[in-house]
Symmetry: C5
Subunit: 322 residues, 5 copies
């Protein structure tokens, strides 16, 4: 699909065959949840393509305001991010409670929102039993008109089972009121070392667990070519699964999510000054069959014009891959 | 009973005297739960025999997708397992939330499903206080049209009492809405060593506890001839209970479940390349009075044709033993 | 009262003055709970005497099936115990959830049942913080037609306060739906040594706490002549309380339960091959004013005929003491 | 006010101006709670004076039956204490669940009762994280016709915040159903040493916290002249607050409870053989503005006649101070 | 705006444009919560200016009564603080449950109140896992006619996530019943050293997290020029954010709260004998764009006349800055 066609007026488009196909994978959901998946897939420049680019702004919670916003001062204002997501033609905007409350009325109905339900912060010293605070309720998502809830789990952490149980309750409630569920699955804690957190086998495993937990949309980091678990290494060799390129690894992650029956998107990683480095990575990700990107710091820490240009280029890549 | 009779159209069969007898053991259950036990016992090639072969697919959660599915790539797709269970003429299909959601509509009413309510994973380092995350609710089982919930306990673990209390609540709720309760009882954790986990006395004890906790169907591993607890050793000697062969030990486990008044089934153990080794074990298990097998990796990690052949042979063994 | 009078058709007897007296002690209970106390006191050969002999079968949970039942194989069957309690003319039968579910229909209305709500097991290594899993709910007791719930506390354990709080909730709910509450009070854990668990002062203290917690019927072990706490020793000396014989000590325990205003019964202790040793102990217990015995292993681990003979002899002792 | 006036027929007295004044301090309470405060203040020989003497019997839980009752054997009977409180003309009787249940009908309406909601025991080894088991519910207090709930907190303990949160829930519920709230505030645990538990600053602090937590009536131990916290020492010196005599210290405690706007009563301390020693202490306490005493062991561990005489003398002291 | 205009009859004033502007930032709140924000902003001498001075009295809980009140004895009386806040023309009075209950009727409708929901105390030794006891419920705030709840979090503490989850539940409930939410955000515990607690980056981060958690009003301490986290230091340098003066740092904190879209107020710090020192600090705080001060010890630990004079001077500073 060519992005130059006027898909920016996406919400008026009829549902495309590709979106219908994607919806067909969510066999157990009620019309409310399916309606919100439609909203996410039929908004913005990528509307109808089955691809998504989402703006997440939870960096303030994770790293504090100065590290998040001082490099681009207008970003201190919650309205900035709503507007950026709208103007860049993204599919959705994801943020913690306060950030969405601060623009809920001004931007009502203009872009699907995802309420990020839990957050960690850099002041906490908890590592092996890494956790996040659950900072919002499903009733908050409903009153704020959100399309989905977002929840992070840390598979590998000593607190991972407790987190999964929190997710069980929130996801069950969210589905019952017609919301979609987005899961950030980041392996961390326990005996996992830094390198293992983004190992190819661990990323695929983390994504698979999110799918098993009932996520509609799964977000993971782009995997490296490291393999962390010995037993997994043998399996990859025996199954002759290619992991040499990022594209190979993305393909393995997508396959690990119900053989492509779940939407998997990838984070943009740490802020990079070189936009081309970002785009090169996205191309490889898109080539692997990714459903899109969720791009935070690489978007809002750039000057607005540069950010919109970069997001446009990313959208173009996904539109071509659609 | 000869398996060549056309029992594959099992659901249209009248309830057999043997199934009526088995139902009579569940004296406290409401018609809803009895109806689901009938569904489990009157489906597939073994319908009416009082025997069951069930396909469980929770390996993805336990070991990750590559270790589970790379050896037989179509198995990445959740639909594959529904279809395998139906085509092989099994009694039921058991899986975690996401796996069932992904085929809930396509396969609705075609095979009884068991929602696996809790799962562990290989990224966790918790051992002596081994636990699982509860990843689904009874209301999920209801909305997905399941016949039963499945729950794992780890007797011996420092978390075992907490797990039993989770099971109490879920089983009480499940029974009240007419679902059956399947308990995986795997001794693990605390001071128990690896050998003790499958010791004859420990397996029988773990199965007995599941029965005391109100399980309708109990799943344990096939026991070895090791005896773990000294006090149990004396009791076995004093009671002159034979444990020399696997068949002896299976008989002891079945007796330990209310003298045969509860359905006890056995896991297929680790994946074996040699189908004959699998069948030899099943023969001994069946000879001991087992009600059936729950066969995961040995089924879905084989090419589909081989898997169906193996499952057919297993069904034949149980049909003969009925 | 002479046991040769035909009190075995106990349930048709009018309530005796002694039972009326006992009922008068339970000043705060609703008619439902009083009705169930009547059922417990007006059933079996001791009906109307104010004495009770109860069969408890939770050994399978505590010690495993082989140690519990292999010495008398018919006892593997849950029906065996219902029938034994009925045929021996006992007042009630107490067991965990699964055991009662397995005979709930066959024996409905034939003998009062006590649902044992929590259980420990021999696979657990938890000692100083000894605990039990709560394995049933009050709604289970209601649907199974039980007359009472049974609950174990371990005073002295680091988990004792949490257990007492579990009991508070269950007892409050049980009373509100007209059930009686039986408390097994076994000091254990914390700094208590093995000898202290059955010390005269500790048993009396444990029984007193059960009374304070609102128990209708209290079960403790027969106390030894050891005194565990120094402060208690001084008090016993100062108060000139005799503890020399078992009868003395039983009297002190009964007095410690609201000066005799609560039903206190004693366990039969470890299995003894010599029936006379059992009867000798019961005589001393009865002489001290005990309201009866709760006799598990010494009943069901004997051949049925011997068990019924022994229980008859025990009933005779209590009937004479009434 | 002279105690020789016939105030023993207290419940028929019109509410006195002093009681009206005290009621005016409880500005936020509903008529139900105010009615129960009236009941407490208009019962017994001190009715109408604004002073209270209360009999608490939770020693059995704290120290066991022998240490509590063997010195005065009739006290083993729960009825003994109801009758003692009535005959001595006290304002109220406080005890744990079982003790109140055992006399709830016989003594209904004859004396206001306070259901002690939590208790510790001497078998527990928990010290630095000292706690109590919550052994009753507000619904128990309601069905037993109590006027108030009683709850102990251990400020300083590592469990103190959890206890305060338990109190929050119980007090909120109690107030909503028209009950009064009595808080036993005993500093204990954490880094506090034995001497610090009764230090003047700590007692005043503990009493103040009980007031902040919403208690209607606060019970503390008589403070010594020790000061535990350095920062408090400086404040006492700077504020020129006299702590030299017990009377001074009582005055400071009363002032610390909202400048006298909350009822503060003091425990009788350990059992003393010399009645005069008890009375001397009460005189000093009364002179400091205390609203009364809560006198357990020094009452029920004496022969009944001596106890009534002692309580009469105590009442006389408070009547004179009124 | 000049404070000499008769804004003390503030509650009768029409809502000013500035207050309307502030209200417009709270986009997601219902009319009940907005009404309470109006009450807070349209009361007292600063009514209509968009500035607030609040009297908080939770020192008794934190430090005990002697350290809090002995220096100014009338302050022992809860009525004193209500009256002080009213007479000084403040916007609101904040205190724990008991303090508000003690004046709820006398001062009903005379000044907006904030129910402080949780409190720590000096007897607790918990440091790295610093916590507070939740001592009130939202239903308490409603029955006491409060305008807001107040809640403290300790970002950095090992208990911070649990505290945030408590806040989530209370804030969600408070907003649903039309109350405003004030969050005291004090970094403490974990690996944070004393100096770090008031570091410029940490204060801004703590304030930002409170905003993300959905606070309407945020209270932090005035920041020092120390920077605690290395990553933050780099960000401040890169973003060229001035932190040299207190005014600079206040500006950074205000910006960190949604670029000024949330009300941020600052505590008055430790009691200072020199009123001029207090006023100098307030001038710098006001110059940085602070919305006001919350002034406890520096108000109620002075003689009443001095306190009112000081508060008048503070109000004057903020009125000029408005």
């Amino acid at each position: 699909m060519n992005v130059s066609t006027p898909i920016t007026s996406g919400r008026r488009l009829a549902i495309t065959p590709r979106v219908r196909e994607i919806l067909s994978w969510y066999e157990s959901d009620n019309p409310g949840t399916k309606g919100n998946l439609v909203r996410l897939l039929m908004t913005g420049k990528l509307a109808g393509t089955g691809k998504l680019v989402i703006l997440p702004v939870d960096q303030g919670f994770e790293h504090g305001p100065a590290r998040s916003f001082s490099v681009n001062a207008p970003a201190y204002d919650p309205h900035y991010h709503f507007q950026l997501a709208i103007d860049a033609g993204l599919n959705a905007y994801a943020a913690p409670l306060g950030m969405l409350e601060a623009g809920a009325d001004t931007f009502a109905g203009q872009i699907p929102t995802i309420l990020k339900m839990n957050s960690a912060n850099s002041l906490s010293r908890l590592n092996e039993d890494a956790d996040q605070a659950v900072t919002a309720s499903v009733s908050d998502a409903v009153r704020l008109g959100c399309s989905a809830i977002g929840f992070t789990i840390y598979p590998g952490s000593d607190r991972a089972y407790a987190q999964m149980e929190e997710l069980r309750e929130l996801a069950n409630e969210a589905k019952s009121v017609g919301l979609a569920v987005v899961v950030w699955s980041y392996a961390r804690g326990g005996t996992l070392d830094k390198k293992g957190e983004t190992a190819a086998d661990v990323i695929a495993y983390a994504a698979h667990m999110a799918a098993l937990l009932g996520a509609h949309i799964i977000k993971v980091k782009p995997p490296t070519d490291h393999i962390s678990l010995d037993a997994a290494k043998k399996a990859y060799e025996k199954g002759k699964i290619e992991l040499g390129t990022l594209t190979d690894r993305i393909r393995d992650v997508v396959k690990s999510c119900f053989n492509g029956r779940r939407i998997v998107i990838f984070s943009g990683g740490e802020a990079k000054s070189d936009a081309n480095a970002v785009l090169d990575e996205i191309k490889q990700i898109a080539a692997g069959g990714a459903f899109g990107s969720i791009m935070g710091r690489n978007a809002f820490q750039r000057p607005r014009d540069e950010a919109i240009k970069l997001l446009d280029d990313i959208i173009e890549i996904y539109a071509k891959a659609a």
